[in-house]
């Protein structure tokens, strides 16, 4: 919960990170974190910044962007690697405070999973920067034309509430991608975990000081009011913005940035449909109920790829599956949600889904007692009702709620899929024996064009750090279906502009485009052939 008092400007608040220094914010108010497990409000106050703080950050970020053009990728890589080490050195403190601020379990979630993912991303970003293949260098020796992707300038990163490390604006995937591509960043931290962000920023600053990079390379504001955020993303000094969060917030930022001609990358919402074909359901229904519950209830379902929507064919088959799920959902203790605001949002969404025609199999209400918890919730609806309800049954309920839709046949299923908005992921479970192979074809064809990642026999949570990953998808799951937020080096492309050199004298070319290779690992496309080494 964010406590904010405009009158509170006099209150002693924590400083913000501007140009390599912790400085007093020009605050319009303050807030503190609340432990969602206990309801206890933190003692430390953090500032809600005014435009004046943004202006300072932008000035130094623009300076840093210029300086970074002449700094070697190896220095940027060394910074990212030192930052990863620093996070490991302070891992216990980070895990402790993140646990307090988010209610996420210390182990394995924060310590063994998310922190490890975070330092892995930093190190992958370092390798990508050092190697340079991400620049997609193309060399046409005959025409004398050479091109590659180069930094765009200051990147504003808005972090989400649900990953205090791995998607944190100052340590997560977007941060890594923007920095590895050679840009400075201005992090707008999520107000639910300011203490975690502060500690991360300390680690970043330590690494930055050791790196020799410009001090404006990494800056951080804890929070801004909406109009200030809208002005920030539209500022002409901004190269690009990335945002992970709610659809309503994302769409407001999108409009402001795009009106000013500034690129913005958004990850906004996704139902992540799962289709279980009849053969699979008959063959291993109980096992799949287990898998689905593990995926949908983990972290109280607060993942961007959490499966919100499950399609099965046939009312009879669905009956057993629903019963299995009901048993698991009802018997498992729900995890703590990230905030009372999140609890309220989940409650409202579930009630809206019920009002739109879904029936409650189990759960459906907030859980009494300490902490922000919602009953593990399973809703069910018929294919007819789902189709008739239109978008009102396609609302994302962000949390531990799943809707089971019982379709009559594969034709109805395909129609339902075609009616879906764009999603990050879509899964199809089919019989191991091949019995569903015929049904699979039309279902996959329909689903494939509605999602960024199509899975077989596997739940969508757990977004592997693979160069082949796509954590993106058609609108409105993201703002553009050609970009991914996870998967290095592809995620770096979002923060780069295509630069072309035509007849430019050899000694004046950037290192990545000279005849000699900038390093032995970089792949370049030379006269139609991909190769490492010299032209």
């Amino acid at each position: 919960m964010i406590m904010r008092d405009k009158e509170e400007v006099g209150v002693e608040v924590q400083p913000i990170l501007i140009n390599g220094t912790w400085v007093a914010a020009k605050a319009v108010g303050s807030f503190s974190a609340t432990n969602p497990s206990t309801g206890e409000r933190g003692a430390v106050s953090f500032p809600v910044s005014t435009w004046s703080d943004c202006e300072r950050a932008l000035t130094h970020s623009a300076e840093a962007a210029k300086q970074l053009r002449n700094i070697s990728p190896a220095m940027i890589a060394a910074f990212l690697e030192r930052y990863a080490e620093r996070i490991e050195e302070r891992a216990s403190e980070l895990v402790d405070i993140a646990h307090q601020e988010t209610g996420l379990p210390v182990s394995p979630r924060l310590r063994e999973v998310e922190l490890v993912r975070t330092v892995t991303q930093l190190r992958q970003g370092a390798s990508a920067a050092r190697e340079g293949t991400w620049q997609r260098a193309v060399i046409d020796t005959k025409a004398g034309i050479r091109s590659h992707f180069a930094p765009m300038g200051p990147v504003v990163v808005f972090g989400p509430n649900n990953f205090p490390f791995a998607f944190n604006a100052i340590s997560g995937g977007d941060f890594v991608a923007a920095i590895a591509a050679g840009n400075p960043i201005i992090a707008k931290s999520h107000p639910l975990h300011p203490g975690t962000t502060q500690l991360m920023a300390q680690c970043a600053l330590d690494a930055l000081e050791a790196s020799g990079l410009p001090p404006g390379t990494v800056q951080m504001l804890y929070h801004v009011e909406n109009p200030t955020g809208l002005r920030l993303v539209a500022d002409e000094r901004v190269g690009a913005t990335s945002f992970t969060g709610s659809r309503s917030g994302g769409l407001r930022l999108k409009e402001a940035a795009e009106r000013a001609g500034r690129p913005i990358y958004l990850e906004m919402s996704s139902l992540n449909p799962v289709v279980i074909l009849p053969g699979a359901l008959a063959e291993r229904g109980q096992q799949m109920a287990q898998e689905l519950a593990d995926s949908a209830l983990a972290a109280a379902g607060q993942f961007c790829t959490s499966p919100n929507l499950v399609f099965v064919i046939g009312a009879d088959a669905a009956k057993n599956f629903a019963a299995d799920l009901k048993h698991i959902y009802a018997s498992r203790e729900p995890s703590v949600l990230l905030s009372s605001g999140g609890l309220k949002g989940l409650e409202d969404s579930v009630h809206a889904l019920i009002a739109a025609g879904a029936t409650v199999v189990t759960g459906g209400e907030a859980k009494s007692g300490a902490g922000c918890r919602f009953q593990n919730t399973l809703l069910q609806v018929s294919g007819e009702d789902f189709m008739a309800a239109g978008s009102s049954l396609q609302m994302e309920a962000f949390g531990n709620s799943t809707m089971l839709v019982t379709m009559n046949d594969v034709a109805q299923l395909c129609s339902a899929i075609e009616s879906l908005e764009g999603n990050l992921t879509g899964c199809i479970y089919s019989s191991a024996s091949g019995g569903d192979d015929e049904l699979y074809v039309p279902v996959a064809e329909a689903l494939c064009f509605k999602v960024g990642r199509l899975l077989n026999d596997k739940m969508p949570t757990g977004v592997a750090l693979s160069p082949a990953m796509n954590h993106g998808g058609p609108y409105p799951s993201t703002g553009h279906p050609g970009f991914t937020a996870v998967g290095i080096p592809a995620s770096l492309s979002r923060f780069a502009a295509l630069h072309c050199y035509d007849n430019v004298r050899a000694g004046r070319l950037p290192a990545a485009l000279r005849d000699e290779a900038p390093n032995p690992s970089m792949w370049r496309c030379v006269d139609g052939t991909y190769k490492q080494g010299a032209v």
Copy 2:
């Protein structure tokens, strides 16, 4: 000139191309072409389509998009190649009518240059489709994750006035890129050359019929009113839109498309600054005056990359250069402009630049006599006045007008460059002896981040069909600096979405992602290594 009468709906107008058939338009009015050399209005009337025509086109385009998913790239390639042949077979007719409608010279411009460029683009698109490297396939065998770029769905192409073949909505670079990437297109032709477009569409239809592709793959409307165009680009069936034309038109379409979450690629305006450093000016001033005039006056300066703005350092040096240019500009017969509307626009822009502080060295007025011609115009302004005027001296005068800016020193020059909006190109001429090498560094650094393509010792017109080309640039020259409209295969990326397959069974993968290579030429990134052939 477009003559349009809303009352004229009863007039007999040419049919539009919908789903493989020439059908009567539901027209809201009609227009005909005018020969800009003679002022003669064409006898044939073309329809201004209502929404009902767009609706038909969208329905069939959406069907075609589905069918195209299961059609081999080789069939698409064969269509593009057959289309190129058909254009060659009808070359004389095409050149004749384009000459009548645009006033562009038959030879070499239309016959030897633009028509050849057009069929080359079609054939390059065919090769790219067949080979598949454009899909940027990434295969992670250990994680079982594979991704590539796949078609987005119906693409709406708005063609510009200045290239009746090579950027025509139904035959130009955007058409080729969208089709080669596997999408159907809806061409919105430019109303200044409807007869040329009709003939191109006939060639396309002949090739389409021979190809076996869905009849909705290529459709064409001659013209729509603004509100209809805005509705078209925002339609949920549209995968993406591309537009080449004026900034005002582009920005209106941008807003409509982006509000609906539909990707749009725009090429809108560019001054294409040319910097001539002192050593180069001293060394070969006369030669450069010749080069500049050749580039800036060709086709009456109606190229997207025409150099509108030239910077030199030092008033004395500028004096000789201006005199040389004045002599050439005044003695060369101006080419015919594309339309009386274009003439009016150029006249207004030049007068606005003069009002904003530029002085006329030569020209500045429309030319009397037959045809739409404007005097070859050279304007001049001091560095101080240029800086003081801000954006009012940075207006694009689309046509045969050039502004020479005399800077005091390199610091002032760099400030001026930093004040520029985004451009497609920027050129730096420097001494062959190396005398400008020190000055070059800060100038190139400033210019490089304001343009999509940086040139040395070469004018920006003549956009080579190279895989390393970037015909794009920072806003507002385009809508996003990461995409190029020229350069195959990169230009295909605009019309593709990233598709990822996670744990998908081998037999269900698209051909491009299977272990066996879909063809021996396709490059794929397999476990970090770029290779051709099987995984």
